[in-house]
Subunit: 171 residues, 2 copies
């Protein structure tokens, strides 16, 4: 079991750090891939080390994907390598969790048609335009997909993501 | 089961938010008491709502205590009401967890004599002077007491604290 996170500069610090530490608490290895190498810095100034560039990632090496929010998703949705990674996880129905602005990457990847999902309020319109059934709830679980709206939803978000990992729908 | 956190302005954001959300994920109510009312702000700018002032707290209403770090413990160790709360939890051997600068409150409360513990490196000398057996490890568990050194230790810190809550040594 290994989890991949995609992020970049100006990530929402709690939305990256809370899942990162939670997975490590459970003994699950987590790696962070980004459009840049070295370290990335959050909106609140936390720095985290990047494990690899997006183009170096082999999605088949990971069992689940997590997309934190902040301003990072706006940069990542412009990276074809990020979109390709997301599509593979969704096609293989491996657990995918996205919070706040994280679902923007799913929207651009075109993987939300007819899926139930949520996101940060300001992202709701484009989520609907992408064909998703948007719901204003702290967490929405649709098969392999877990989505939440904002940092305050992190408890529900992680509760449902951990459940998916434990009952692994795929493999 | 209910957990009390003591903190104040300039808390270490991850050391407060990660345990706060982790406990809520588990469905465990958490309340934050402070020397001030309203909201407190972290070193990285996160704001959290205070549930009550230290002087309004009835320690007997809570099953466990958690002390995040940052600059908050330096303020709280000067508050007799904070020291009184800590002493009650330690006397009753209820789970007490402290990370980074959080153990400074335990030091001033005089509850570390002959206990094994850890803390932020810069606090180690005064921890030893307080009669504790300082260990430079990611987490030290001594009976009801769980201590860690820094944010990167949060996975081990929460793993051990959750274990204590589940096996509840007291009550």
């Amino acid at each position: 079991m290994k989890v991949l996170m995609l992020s970049s500069d100006y990530f929402e610090d709690a939305e990256l750090l809370v899942p990162y530490y939670r997975l490590k608490e459970e003994g699950i290895p987590v790696e962070i891939a980004s459009d840049k190498s070295g370290t990335i810095i959050g909106k609140h100034g936390y720095e985290v080390t990047v494990d690899g560039r997006l183009s170096e990632i082999t999605p088949e090496d990971y069992d689940a994907l997590l997309l934190p929010g902040g301003k990072a998703p706006a940069a990542l949705r412009a990276e074809s390598s990020a979109l390709a990674i997301v599509k593979i996880f969704m096609q293989h129905r491996r657990p995918v969790a996205a919070i706040c602005h994280g679902p923007q990457i799913l929207i651009t990847a075109g993987v939300l048609r007819d899926r139930r999902a949520t996101c940060y309020r300001a992202v709701a319109d484009e989520m609907r335009l992408a064909g998703a059934h948007y719901e204003d709830r702290e967490v929405v679980v649709d098969g392999n997909l877990v989505t939440s709206r904002q940092p305050a939803d992190l408890p529900a978000f992680m509760r449902e993501f951990m459940k998916l990992l434990k009952n692994k729908v795929s493999r």
